[in-house]
Amino acid sequence: MRFGGIRNGALALAVATGALSAAAVRANPRPWQLNLPEGVTETSHAVWDLNMASFLVCVGIGIVVFGAMIIAMFRFRKSRGAVAEKWSHSTKLELVWTIVPVLILAGLAWPATKVLLQNKNTAGAQMTIKVTGYQWKWRYDYLDYEGRTVKKVGFMSSLAFSSNKVRQLDSGLSPYSVKAADGSNDYLLNVDHLLVVPVGVKIRFLVTGGDVIHSWWVPDLGWKMDAIPGLVNAAWTNISKPGIYRGQCAELCGQDHGFMPIVVKAVPKAQFEQWLAAQEDGARLDKAARTAQASIPHGPGQG
């Protein structure tokens, strides 16, 4: 319930929609979910507000226009004896419904511009992660953290085995049987290696594609960014709550486009630093163990 005025609004639909999404602290899509998740970043909250503001403006205009139409359909029925009037023009009216929409749109463009400016500003990031889309998996490389270069921490992240065997044509296995550690269903939303990030840190993502165009999207972070070969796009996030946030590739990238999810595990800063150090040690000691999952609770297949 972040958009002021919703709670007091008379619009039952809006209230219902808002109430349902207010419960979206848990990061997975829920059955019967009607609205965007509010998410766990400043950006995602701002986008959610913008989403609600534009939705309510549309509902308002809809009530006026469809209301007028419905009244017309009842009042001016020939079967009720309505006789057609002759007028077909009114400059005054037409000016009104040209100018008023311009003002309403300007009212929406203003906050949208503000959020966009904030969204585009990747300056001041304390950490950089390079995300590369491949058919059909993601690669994550940790480039720097708090001003120092991270040494050789990077790994591939693909669909977890538990989902992959169920999703084969005629596997005979039920998608409802794929469960995460907390018991929630994570069919097609689980990976072998999670992207581990700290909370409360401004993280810059450099997003690119290795073969075709992909799009990296975690709804709880509030944005998606296309992963385009030959182009490095920048985006940022600053996650406020520890948790597991799931998303999917959003740009058609071939036959397994639907099967390359994204799972972000946000942990407290100290825990992240521990994890990162272990990864760097692992990289130093044994190149092959670079993607070791020792400090991640969810191992392969349970992600």
Binding site: N28, A112, A234
Partner: protein, 539 residues
């Protein structure tokens, strides 16, 4: 109408050619070619619809049950191409062929032989496109938007798609030239530009859009072709090219294309609503200017399809503001339709029902369009089912409902018989309910996080997908009622249609007999302003 009856007498000497082949394959008659276009569009509507049924069946529940993921991508790609280029666009050209000469008092289209050719390219174009299913590697599966590098990764289906685009593009350009030449040169004396029916106006503007953008698409796909087969690197980053360049070229075509598919529907609705409101169209001139403004704006908003490609801030702001601006002339149109109904004397025959549904449901599609225009919000909506819901509201309950309204509206004029009003209403109510069951839940799916173009999904999306699929099956089946009704009307109906057909009908097309004789207006009609649909616009 004195001149109309002499017209009928005159036409008796020029009946349609007797041989089936001569009449239908060698036709230069705008009515026969219009009929061919409409039959072709109907056929493609069901082919594209069949693909949609398989898509919805696979998405009926989570897990993969029916098709392989790659074939699923072939289906989504071909469904879009068939519906856009095979169903919607030819249906509008068919309506233009039939109605524009009748509405402006012309004896035929300006370039009748080219008219024949622009139709007969289409069956060949679609044979090429649909035959790609049988190629090794299958049909194109990179989406109808053909984004490289993905689109040139597969088999030779893409080459078939590119040649299809060339052929149907030539067909569209020839059709557009013909329509412009007809409207600008063949109007009856007294049919000034600002007295033309809105349907003619919207088609005039649409035709200019077609001529402007079809060559851009042809150029873009030709670059794809040389990238794939001749070693060029227009869109290949490794060779110094840019994959995003294709998206700019494609959407410079693609966004005006969206309006190519909706402006003629605006025209149809602007004919139907005044007829069944028995009141002149409100704000005729504003309607014309709004159409022209939308057409202009459609050229400067293309990158709103590309907000997540990492455009620079300035570009994103410009395209957001320009896109939002389109809501203004579109709003003018909606307000004018509502005001036309206000103070009228309304009846609700099938064409009017479809027109009313069009206004409401198209506006819902417009609302989600405004939401999508807001760049930061689009970062969430882009490439999700929210977008799928948006463009199906605009194209199915917009363009397709507009066509259905037009078909029911003019069918009595074409066939000389009244269609079954009862079955028309059954078709309408089944369609309007099922189409919302089909597409409305897609908004929720997209907002909850379901990407588009995926064959399988998390169980959280199961409920709304099942509802949507059920709506889809009912909507698909309902369309058979329309086919049945049309066949009944043309071949079996007993009730003759009067010349005017509808009590409130105005305009030249209603002054000729029903069915419209093979040749009409061999002698230009006398224009009486008070008989035009929008009344006297001199003030």
């Amino acid at each position: 109408m004195a001149h109309a009856s002499t017209q009928g007498h005159h036409d008796a000497h020029h009946e349609a050619p007797s041989g089936f082949f001569r009449r239908w394959f060698m036709s230069t008659n705008h009515k026969d070619i219009g009929t061919l276009y409409l039959i072709f569009a109907g056929l493609m509507f069901f082919i594209g619809g069949a693909m949609a049924m398989v898509i919805r069946a696979e998405l009926f529940e989570p897990g993969m049950q029916l098709v392989q993921p790659y074939f699923f991508n072939e289906l989504t790609t071909m469904h879009a191409l068939v519906m856009i280029f095979g169903a919607i666009m030819p249906a509008f050209v068919g309506l233009a062929n039939w109605m524009i000469p009748l509405m402006i008092g012309a004896p035929d289209m300006a370039l009748p032989r080219m008219n024949n050719m622009s139709f007969w390219l289409l069956p060949f174009a679609f044979t090429i496109l649909l035959s790609s299913f049988f190629l090794p590697g299958g049909a194109p599966a990179g989406g109808w938007t053909m984004y490289p590098p993905l689109s040139i990764q597969g088999g030779d289906g893409i080459a078939f798609l590119i040649f299809f685009v060339h052929l149907s593009g030539i067909s569209s350009i020839m059709g557009a030239i013909n329509i412009i030449a007809t409207i600008l040169n063949m109007r009856a004396p007294g049919m000034d530009l600002l007295k033309m029916p809105i349907f003619v106006w919207t088609w005039l503007i649409t035709a200019f859009l077609l001529i402007a953008v079809m060559p851009v698409l042809a150029g873009g796909v030709t670059m794809l072709l040389t990238d794939k087969y001749f070693g060029t690197s227009f869109f290949n980053a490794a060779g110094g090219g840019d994959p995003v360049l294709f998206q700019h070229v494609f959407w410079f075509f693609g966004h005006p294309e969206v309006y190519i598919m909706i402006l003629p529907a605006f025209g149809i609705i602007s004919e139907v609503i005044p007829t069944f409101s028995r009141k002149p169209l409100f704000g005729y001139k504003a309607m014309v200017y709004a159409t022209a403004s939308i057409a202009f704006l459609s050229f400067i908003v293309w990158a709103h399809h590309m907000f997540t490609t990492g455009l620079p801030l300035g570009a994103e702001l410009f395209f957001m503001y320009a896109t939002m601006l389109i809501a203004v002339p579109t709003g003018v149109k909606v307000f004018n339709w509502v005001t036309t109904m206000w103070g009228g004397s309304l009846t609700f025959e099938t064409p009017m029902l479809f027109a009313v549904a069009f206004v409401i449901l198209f506006t819902i599609g417009g609302f989600s369009g405004i939401m999508l225009a807001l760049v930061p919000a689009d970062f969430q909506y882009q490439d999700t089912y929210f977008v799928v819901a948006h463009f199906h509201y605009v194209l199915v309950t917009g363009a397709a409902f507009g066509i259905m309204a037009g078909v029911y509206f003019w069918l009595p004029k074409w066939s000389g018989h009244m269609y079954s009003e009862r079955w028309g209403k059954i078709h309408f109510w089944l369609s309007v309910i099922s189409v919302n069951v089909l597409f409305f839940p897609m908004h929720f799916l997209g907002l909850a996080g379901m990407p588009r173009r995926i064959p399988d999904y998390n169980v959280a999306f199961a409920d709304f997908n099942m509802i949507s699929s059920i709506g889809g099956f009912v909507f698909g089946a309902s369309q058979l009622i329309m086919v049945g009704n049309i066949i009944y009307t043309v071949f079996f109906a007993k009730r003759k249609a009067s010349d005017r057909v509808w009590e409130g009908a105005k305009g030249l097309e209603w002054t000729v007999p029903s069915p419209a004789p093979h040749h009409t207006f061999s002698v230009p009609p006398v224009i009486d302003d008070s008989l035009l649909a929008h009344g006297d616009v001199s003030h």
